[in-house]
């Protein structure tokens, strides 16, 4: 175990100052170059700060401020004010790593899904409809739900065909589910389809795959029976795992299916034309796609660029048409160049601290006391953390659920009006901490305690962040934290074994529903954090919310669950909700930006005008 010495307080103050300076100062070119080095260095160690739990959802959602529309503005217009698309239609997009496998049943990483989702059709697609993000017809043209909400019948699009002419049928969706649950595939997405009847039993090999609650009634009718009621079931159907697969083709290629351009078959708006590993991929328009007439884009060039600074340079030079921008310097430079529309979006996730209630230091299970855990929360200045930890790209957390998540079509945070963090922020951290120590009946001097702080990344940026927390806890409560910096693979073992005091993580919601962020903390969840906290009241609240079809019951119980785990127990200490600053070339139109926080971006609606 590596333990790094912590640098002086002056270092930290200097960094805060530097950060403020940077935001204000009008830099000269040399500074930019030097910063470029810094970025390069930071980039080597991997992405800053912690682990992503559900990488399917790292795009953007709610617009905080925006200059111009999400849509382009540099386009050519006809007399009636309609945008005239360019004659040549292509888009340059950037991927930050080589896709691993382009098979919806084998992957759940963002990079893979953004490519593969555009080559298949899921049951539904997520779109803005009457002001709310809604699952809209796609692979299924319509559907029925039984009165008890336990059975869904999907009527499939009859014109949909694979690129070799074979029709898309209901059985192919069933094949996909069975494949995901098969031990041979060991799909990371297996739990997403848990609500389907017998899914878990099939995965464990307890029942035959034919017993699965998904059945093809005929070629174009798919019936899905649920194991338990889930209010957000339709919010699962736009996930790429709800896409058909061709078992005959997969069999033909065996384990090399989905890893080379030649070994893939699709039925979506685009087909994979070329894949040079670690360099680029090319998607071209699929003429056999059932809505091919509506697709304007002829070609999408995915460039694989791992270095953030290189991505920015390519974006600035117009070789990449759209990207998120995480560096303040590049953001200013790009805004000054005025070639892009930009929007800051709050992502559907939460950066938080997790405390281990079983952790023992100086012979005391220090986090077994509620007040001590709450004190940790009140010690954190969330505004400052946004500046320092997130480089300004975040909004201070009000609770565990970000403001982007809806409950049955309405914004959860607005609907509840509840701010779990308010009570913590009103408290004095040190007093609360000492009160907690007294309750435990141990030495009430905070300076006598040192607490393990696990950093699961070896990057320099994360080390700086850890040092920031060191200063925060030292100056507010007076405790010392022991920074333990390990590789992420080692960190996973440590958190699973409960061998940590506190650690940070960013959790992204996989569905547009509060459940996704709340259910990992129920006592039966086999999570990656052995934190030792269980609460029957919490389990009941989450279960009640999930099994009810009544929005007000769901709201009430989700609020209760959030109150229990965040405000009362302070097991989780939400700090901020990450934001993404999206730069889109002004000639690019038709992005479904809001939807891409919960589903991979679909490019069939995108086109250029005035490139």
């Amino acid at each position: 175990m590596l333990k790094f010495p912590v640098r002086s307080k002056f270092d930290f103050i200097y960094k805060i100052e530097l950060l403020r300076e940077r935001n204000k100062m009008n830099k000269k070119r040399l500074t930019a170059v030097l910063l470029a080095f810094a970025l390069t260095l930071g980039g080597c160690g991997g992405d800053s700060s912690t682990t992503t739990s559900t990488p399917t959802s790292t795009s953007q959602s709610q617009v905080v401020n925006q200059d111009g529309g999400v849509d382009g503005s540099a386009g050519n217009y006809d007399d009636s004010g309609e945008v005239i698309p360019d004659a040549e239609q292509y888009m340059n997009y950037c991927l930050t790593s080589d896709p691993k496998v382009l098979d919806t049943t084998q992957t759940n990483t963002t990079t893979d899904l953004v490519v593969v989702a555009n080559t298949v059709i899921s049951l539904t697609r997520l779109q803005m409809f009457e002001g709310a993000l809604t699952a809209m017809p796609y692979g299924a043209k319509s559907w029925d739900k039984s009165d008890d909400g336990m059975k869904y019948t999907f009527y499939l699009e009859e014109d949909a065909v694979w690129t070799d002419g074979v029709p898309v049928t209901a059985q192919q969706y069933v094949d996909a589910f069975q494949r995901i649950l098969s031990p041979d595939v060991a799909s990371p997405s297996a739990t997403i389809i848990n609500p389907i009847k017998n899914a878990e039993a099939v995965r464990l090999g307890e029942v035959d795959p034919s017993e699965l609650g998904a059945k093809a009634i005929d070629d174009y009718t798919l019936e899905i029976e649920l194991e338990y009621f889930v209010a957000y079931f339709m919010d699962l159907t736009y996930n790429p795992v709800f896409s058909p697969v061709r078992l005959d083709v997969i069999e033909q290629y065996g384990s090399s299916y989905g890893v080379e351009a030649e070994n893939i078959i699709g039925c979506g708006a685009f087909t994979l034309d070329e894949w040079v590993h670690d360099s680029h991929l090319t998607l071209v328009k699929n003429p056999t796609y059932f809505q091919a007439d509506d697709v304007l884009l002829e070609q999408i060039n995915f460039k694989i660029i791992k270095d953030t600074n290189t991505i920015m340079a390519e974006l600035y030079s117009g070789n990449v048409d759209r990207s998120s921008v995480s560096s303040v310097e590049w953001r200013e430079k790009l805004i000054a160049a005025d070639l892009h529309n930009y929007g800051d979006y709050v992502l559907g996730g939460t950066y938080m601290m997790i405390l281990n209630t079983e952790y023992e230091t100086n012979g005391v299970k220090i986090f077994s006391n509620e007040k001590i855990r709450q004190a940790i929360s009140s010690a954190i200045d969330r505004e400052q953390a946004v500046d320092f930890v997130a480089n300004g790209l975040g909004i201070p957390a009000q609770g565990l659920i970000p403001s982007t998540i809806s409950l049955d079509g309405s914004n959860y945070r607005e609907l509840s009006g509840y701010v779990p963090m308010a009570s913590h922020e009103a408290q004095d951290a040190k007093e609360l901490f000492i009160e907690g120590l007294n309750e435990l009946g141990v030495d009430p001097d905070p300076s006598k305690y040192s607490i393990n702080f696990l950093v699961r990344s070896t990057s320099a940026a994360d080390k700086d962040i850890a040092e920031y927390y060191y200063e925060v806890f030292k100056s507010t409560i007076g405790i010392k934290i022991d920074i333990q910096q390990v590789e992420s693979a080692v960190g996973r073992d440590l958190t699973m074994a409960g061998d940590f005091g506190m650690t940070t993580v960013t959790y992204y919601s996989s569905t547009n529903d509060p459940n996704s962020l709340l259910s990992p903390w129920i006592s039966s969840a086999t999570g990656n954090y052995n934190h030792g906290w269980t609460s029957e009241a919490y389990d009941t609240a989450v279960a009640t919310a999930n099994s009810s079809a009544d929005s007000s019951v769901r709201l009430e119980n989700f609020m209760e669950a959030e109150r229990l785990v965040v405000e009362e127990a302070a097991l989780l200490i939400p700090i901020y909700h990450p934001m993404s600053s999206m730069m889109t070339a002004k000639y690019l139109y038709g992005f479904q930006s809001e939807a891409s926080s919960f589903a991979p971006a679909l490019f069939s609606t995108v086109f250029t005008s005035g490139r």
Partner: protein, 311 residues
């Protein structure tokens, strides 16, 4: 001499075997496993399926036996765990020529300039030319190559638009990374060459050659170069071996599809078959290079040949 070569060859094979075995067990001793972030939310039974799929549920010794059998019988490095369905052989075959192209071009640029600088500095020892060259070499050695890479990319590609910022496929794409790769080589070569050259220049036989009236150029080429080059071979050949292994940072900055990034990432992601494939490849390159150094030495320097004969 044949006996000597055979002996060196045997020790080469033994070293290779030891490296492979040691890496295999050390790699499994390091905590953490290949279940990446992608599978963070897997329930235990799914994780168990996953481990079984890659044979990771068996004892390490059994895994080692199976791995070695597959390696020696089929010359198969296995399948990547992080990149399912992709063979290590395939990844290496695709990436090595790319990395090697940057390496070869970089050295073609770096070595002649470096050696030339070294000779020039030696001949102008103590003059301003020497100081300028030594300053340049020292900077080239001490400044990391990614700094040059960023600088070249920023000024030549981004600001002046003379070359592509990143990418692969055309010769223009390879220019900047090759330059960045070669710059470091200039520094090292210049310093070594200068020292070696000066060393030879002060030898009695050089003075003797000068005394019998050899022309300045003949002296430089026939006498000094031949003698000064042999120490350079020791550092040159291993460097040639390493051109195949790629440079992580350069490949990241310029988006080059080489194998450099696999080397670094496979370790952090615990992609065991990939770690093994890379280690075996690199160690074979290196061990073979060392073997070649020994052989080359005999060719260049007859004294080595004579000494080793008895040994």
């Amino acid at each position: 001499m044949k006996k000597y070569i055979a002996k060196r060859f045997l020790s080469m094979v033994l070293t290779g075997f030891l490296v492979i075995t040691a890496t295999y067990f050390i790699m499994h001793l390091v905590p953490g496993g290949p279940l990446g972030d992608a599978v963070l939310e897997m329930p235990e039974d799914v994780q168990a399926n996953y481990m079984a799929k890659y044979g990771l549920d068996k004892p390490v010794t059994t895994q080692y036996y199976l791995y070695m059998k597959n390696l020696l019988v089929n010359f198969d490095f296995g399948e990547s765990i992080v990149y399912p369905g992709r063979s290590i052989n395939g990844i290496l075959e695709a990436g090595i020529p790319v990395s090697a192209q940057i390496g070869v071009q970089g050295l073609l640029f770096g070595i002649p300039i470096g050696l030339g600088f070294g000779i020039l500095a030696a001949n102008f020892r103590g003059k301003w030319v020497d100081y300028v060259i030594m300053f340049i070499s020292l900077s080239a050695i001490s400044i990391p190559s990614f700094v040059f890479a960023s600088l070249l990319q920023y000024f030549l590609a981004f600001e002046m638009q003379m070359f592509p910022i990143s990418g692969w496929g055309t010769f223009a794409c390879t220019v900047l990374p090759s330059l960045a790769y070669g710059i470091r080589s200039i520094g090292v070569k210049a310093r070594y060459m200068r020292t070696s050259w000066l060393d030879v220049m002060n030898q009695d036989y050089v003075m003797a050659a000068e005394a019998i009236g050899m022309s300045k150029w003949a002296l430089q080429i026939k006498v000094i170069l031949r003698n000064a080059i042999s120490p350079i071979v020791t550092i040159l050949v291993p460097e040639l071996a390493l051109i195949f292994t790629g440079t992580f940072v350069l490949e990241t900055i310029y988006s080059i599809p080489g194998i450099g990034s696999y080397f670094v990432n496979s370790v952090t992601s615990r992609d065991y078959p990939m770690i093994m494939g890379q280690t075996i490849f690199i160690s074979i390159c290196y061990i073979f290079a060392m073997f070649m150094v020994d052989i080359l030495y005999m060719v260049i320097d007859p004294r080595v040949r004579l000494n080793k004969k008895g040994a």
